[in-house]
Symmetry: C2
Subunit: 439 residues, 2 copies
């Protein structure tokens, strides 16, 4: 069951907050031959791996228009409505991220600006497994569509009948995915990184996956394509005081725990009394869960940490840098302002992680494993690049010429200096002056 | 000398635009032991490697306040002014990137927003070599300072006397670098990734470097820290028509070529007549360069491609995705709007790459090797993260509850559903109704 730690000394924090070590680089030697085979043999290799790993012999890799149409008719009306409502909210929040790009005259006649451009071709990986992760389709395809990516490729493993879940197809079609392929695992990453006869090569690959998918993404990111972020097991931290409701805390700890045995939930509480009430709620609610065995195992990686001062609790949360952070304290707004390392923050009694996981509008693809110290979750930015532009007039260049030339000279880059002088027709004058610009 | 290609068929473009292959992953086995030694032995390993690679026995790794003061008094006044002017422009352009963050009620009572937070600890690597790259100090430290990073660590290799160039120290101090260390190469990357007795561990490492530095950055990015982008040899593309001045083109090709033998310059011209005039200008200007042997070698990697239609030339540039693109055509504004893959674009006769390299305000740390298809150059964003926040009221959660619960149920995540139900006090009602929410 969950571990209880009371009032830990500061010098024990680091160890205490350590995640279970997941070293995907040790899988490189397993994944590398798969990548090589797909690069060399294309579709033929993909079909062979689908037979080997997903136990299905596919005739064609791409999902057909007919299959998509069929899925849309088969999907329950209620679920269709739910997905559509979620899409509306996610789209609204991500559209607001279309920030103004700077344009300015830095000094007179020196105009500089940025242009936001969609990444032309992107690839989305949607894991298979016990449940269809159509919500992740929304979270990746909606910002890709808003960004204006021309090619949005989706790969997901088929089941033994060669089928992809209806809800995945519905969500993909709803959000403008251009091509869907029945390919899973490392071979899907390889297909999108290198391109094959069927699968277009993309410039950036997004999406969660198991350790093999993660290892494959890391490997291709070293040479071929960009990736969204390093992936790891999902996690939640809850920061609570005496004002928090143990019932809600237990529900949120469990909703993280049900993701998988390697999920981690941590409750930071400044109120010692919460420990027992949360423990007892955990037992009650756990018993009702269909995935209770799995959740129970995940709770073994989880912790309740009692830490008396709120200041210290905030520091400890920032040190942990959780993927999800739920703040259930009396003054949660003030506490929220002090958070500097987290993927997504949920404030107050009525903001469970499930809200952001599905339908409030924020993205659920977030940095795990402490990477929230350096990475953001997926935003519209993830699907765009910013190109800087500049246009100088002759006068503008003249104004800057002194700074450029002196700096170039001190960096011993004389051709850089010359590129200015030649434009200001100085070089010939100076050549007459015995080439004084040369060392 | 430079290669001339006329009117290439579309199916030859890919091969034609291929960069000289640089596979830094083959250096992993060389770099890995260095990383391991620094992780295990800390400063002791750093001092040993500095002796081995930079031929200097250091007593302390950190640059002292006295050394910085001395550098500031020694640096020529003119250079100080030039650096300060460049800083002002770079700062102005990067400050304008502080975009408004979205805040909204996605639906009534469901408030979502983003908060921009600085990455708390960042590390900047400044290469050594023949010339002090103080301009790169400006390009990395200025946005770090604007972002508000608390710890800005800089590592740069010392010379044999154990000194770091005055201009590097001046620029670092001017832009708020908090600690400077005399450490170069892969060992510097290791020091910042893991932390040692002297060097603080950082969360993201920035900056160019040789292949060993790049390999080390790639390796640590697999587990420990974020990095800015994959680095490769610098490159420029020039897109020109009959309106362009051969003298300026030659100067710009050469200013790229002098960076190193592996630099690449490509001229795309829709005017065949430019070829000969540019060639003759190249010879004249090359002869005047102190680094002419090096530039000559680099030109061997370089190409002049004549391609009659401007449409095709634009497509070819977008396929190449150059780090720097200079557009010298009559209607350069219209052509510039069609560019979707490039790091930084320079428009017209008076916008040489040198302007952006030093002083116009845009950043010169840009994606090379075709990575402009997926990556932006350094912007203020590179030093910040975006944390999403949400706050729902009970009514807000109620409004979303249907969508969340249906989606959670179809993803077989019952605890996610329960986290909503427990808050709306539905679970107990439903328990009486024979737990209908369970499968």
């Amino acid at each position: 069951m969950i571990q209880i730690i009371k009032n830990p000394a500061v010098d024990t924090w680091k160890l205490l907050l350590q995640r279970p070590a997941i070293d995907t680089t040790r899988l490189f030697s397993v994944v590398e031959p798969i990548l090589d085979a797909v690069r060399e043999k294309g579709d033929e290799a993909l079909i062979a791996y689908e037979q080997q790993f997903d136990h299905v012999l596919l005739e064609t890799l791409q999902v057909t228009t007919e299959e998509i149409k069929e899925a849309i008719t088969k999907i329950p009306h209620q679920l269709k409505e739910a997905i559509t409502q979620a899409k509306r909210n996610i789209q609204k929040f991500h559209e607001a991220q279309e920030a103004e790009m700077p344009y300015m005259e830095v000094i007179p006649q020196v105009r500089c600006w940025q242009k936001r451009v969609p990444i032309q071709k992107v690839g989305l990986y949607i894991p298979g497994g016990t449940a269809p992760l159509f919500s992740t389709v929304l979270m990746l395809a909606i910002p890709a569509q808003i960004a204006g990516c021309e090619e949005i490729v989706l790969c997901t493993p088929p089941n033994k009948e060669g089928k992809v879940p209806d809800a995945v197809l519905f969500a993909a079609q709803l959000c403008g995915v251009t091509k869907i392929f029945k390919i899973g695992g490392a071979q899907a990453v390889a297909a999108m990184a290198y391109g094959t006869e069927s699968v277009p090569k993309v410039y950036k690959i997004f999406g969660p996956g198991n350790q093999y998918v993660t290892a494959a993404k890391q490997l291709v990111s070293l040479k071929e394509v960009a990736i969204d972020m390093p992936a790891g097991p999902s996690e939640v931290a809850i920061l609570a005081d005496a004002a928090a409701r143990p019932k809600y805390i237990a529900a949120d700890l469990l909703s993280q725990a049900e993701h998988g045995v390697d999920s981690q939930s941590i409750l930071f509480t400044v109120d010692e009394g919460l420990i027992d009430t949360v423990l007892s709620e955990l037992e009650t609610q756990l018993d009702l869960l269909p995935r209770k065995d799995l959740a129970k195992k995940a709770l073994e990686n989880s912790k309740i940490i009692f830490i008396p001062k709120i200041e210290d609790a905030i520091s400890m949360v920032n040190e942990y840098a959780p993927e999800h952070l739920i703040i259930m304290t009396k003054n949660y707004t003030v506490v929220g302002e002090r958070i500097v390392n987290a993927g997504s923050v949920f404030l107050g009694d009525y903001s469970p992680e499930s809200a952001g996981d599905y339908a409030s509008g924020t993205n659920h693809t977030l940095p795990t494993n402490g990477f929230a110290k350096a990475y953001s979750g997926i935003t519209l930015d993830s699907f765009t690049k910013k190109i800087s532009f500049q246009e100088l007039s002759r006068d503008g260049l003249m104004m800057l010429s002194n700074a450029i030339e002196i700096m170039a000279e001190h960096e011993q880059l004389m051709a850089h200096k010359n590129a200015v002088e030649v434009r200001l027709e100085r070089v010939y004058r100076e050549e007459e002056d015995d080439l004084s610009w040369r060392h």
